[in-house]
């Protein structure tokens, strides 16, 4: 169980954050500058809060009331940073060994060969960081943190410096880590897709405060998320189960509490649980069930509420069975259709808009 309750002031920035989690991965989600990196730095011991408590399991890392403040080297916290921060004067092998050597044999529980194999970094061992690609650096950085046998792994925007293909690559490794290594992970990111894919539990941080905390699907569907992630990201996250595959057209049918979704091929076996993110801007509404339409997903929904009275765009809160969904349409359309709360409508979701990035594995 990770418990964090801290207050910190740095210049004009004031942070007051409290949350707890015993999930395998907890994500700290929010905009740049929201304070999520500061929280992680406080857990690592790199910055010191003015006041508060940080506990991992039974280990108290920081407790201002009792005068406890463990130095970073005693916290057994593994950190992976956005810029990898590999030691440029050491080769990969020496970088990996840096923390490992400082760990007492009795405390080591990470098998070096296994980690090297898991991360696929064996061919890189004798290279210098300057000769590594961004993705390779991050993998080495993850390996280095793991080989120090930490009690918890902190990943601070590890994908932010990578391009699309690298991001996907490292994301897969992190999913692997989550599943293969029995280590709690704190994942800091401002990218909702990453959070959706990886985390069971989300803590939303905005302007130095925790504004939401809970299960991923639940938290990320809430409208107040707009401020934290930017308006265009408004949407819903749906827990679903893989029902079947269509090999001919390479599609997958997902079943959720409210209906079914057809999406491009999801790489999972029938019965597996997934999380699906549907952006509000990808949802259209119709009063009648349309016919001869390319859109694969037509869901029976009812309007819960409508957004603001101004601007060109309005967000419509829907309910598909028991599952919340959001649709972003023009205010004119809402007016023309005469939408009112309680009204029954059809929500149209293009299968194509639910891509690989929008589906995460629970």
């Amino acid at each position: 169980m990770l418990e964090v309750d801290i207050a910190l002031r740095r210049g004009s920035f004031a942070l007051q954050a409290a949350f707890r989690s015993d999930a395998p991965i907890v994500a700290l989600f929010g905009r740049s500058g929201s304070g999520k990196s500061t929280i992680v730095n406080a857990i690592a011991g790199i910055v010191r809060p003015q006041r508060g408590r940080i506990v991992i399991g039974e280990r108290v890392l920081f407790d201002s009331d009792r005068g406890i403040d463990l130095a970073p080297e005693h916290r057994r916290v593994g950190c992976v940073f956005q810029d990898a921060l590999l030691f440029p004067h050491l080769d990969v092998r020496a970088n990996l060994a840096y923390g490992e050597r400082l760990t007492l044999p009795a405390e080591r529980f990470v098998d070096r060969e296994r980690i090297i194999a898991l991360l696929g970094i064996a061919p890189l061992l004798h290279r210098r960081p300057a000769n590594l690609s961004g993705g390779e650096k991050q993998r080495v950085a993850i390996g280095r943190a793991l080989l120090a046998s930490p009690r918890i792994l902190l990943l601070d925007e590890p994908l932010a410096s990578l391009d699309g293909a690298r991001k996907a690559e490292i994301l897969a490794y992190i999913e692997l880590l989550r599943d293969e290594i029995n280590l709690p992970i704190v994942y800091v990111s401002h990218a909702i897709e990453e959070v959706t894919r990886l985390a069971d539990r989300v803590v939303v941080v905005a302007e130095g405060r925790v504004v939401a905390e809970g299960d991923t699907a639940d938290v990320l569907s809430r409208p107040e998320l707009n401020a934290a992630s930017g308006r265009s990201e408004e949407g819903a996250v749906i827990d679903a189960r893989v029902a079947s595959h269509d090999p001919r057209f390479e599609l997958t049918t997902l079943a959720f509490a409210g209906g079914e979704l057809v999406v491009p091929n999801v790489d999972a076996l029938p019965g597996e649980q997934v999380r699906v993110r549907i952006r509000a801007r990808d949802v259209s509404l119709a009063l009648e069930r349309p016919s001869r339409l390319s859109i694969q997903n037509v869901l029976e929904a009812s309007v819960v509420s409508l957004g603001g009275e101004y601007g060109a765009i309005v967000d419509v809160e829907l309910r598909v069975g028991a599952t919340p969904l959001a649709a972003r349409i023009t205010r004119k359309a809402a007016c023309d259709l005469g939408l009112v709360p309680g009204q029954r409508v059809h929500a149209l979701v293009k299968a194509v808009s639910i891509d690989r990035r929008s589906v995460g594995f629970a």
Partner: protein, 229 residues
Amino acid sequence: MLTAAELEIIALSLKVALFGLAASLPFAIAIAFLLARKDFPGKTLFDAAVHLPLVLPPVVVGYALLVLFGTQGPIGRLLEPLGIVLIFRWTGAALAAAIMGFPLMVRAIRLSIEAVDPRLESAARTLGAGRWRVFFTVTLPLAASGVITGALLAFARALGEFGATITFVSNIPGETRTLPLAIYTYTQVPGGDAQALRLSIFSVLLSLAALAFSEWLARRRHPADARHA
């Protein structure tokens, strides 16, 4: 090529410069680290004090050394019972030489420490390294080129040190008559010009060699080493 007397002078110069360098290097590194990484009240004043030998006339520095480290001076009086006498001795010449080159060393080392990404040091701490280990395994190796440059600059400066030396420890053959003092002595005596010239040429060659070596080292080291990868 060189006479025995000349070799003795050169050997003394090298001894004085090297000993002064070796003794002051740890202090220079420590002070450079303090100035690069720490904030404390009076830091600006401290920084200015470190740079004093660079801007003061060498004779003033020599006089200050005489007052402080002479047998009647406050520090000299403490050192004497320990058997450490600086005045009229080559150790005093080494002190004068080291002090004159000290600010150059501190500047160069400080710049290279500042160029080391402090986040690398944080990363090392999270991996289990204490502050001292971080300094010796991460900070110092990455700042090495600055340390070497600073040391060579200070060494070249020490080789040419005159004003502070002659004011503090006088001009004693075999003890404090380093290359610059020897050259000066030869210019004082009518007919000593040829000798002075010989030693001058050698002095220039020596300093050039030190500086060229420093340049070569700076170029040889991978420029990317100074920044994080």
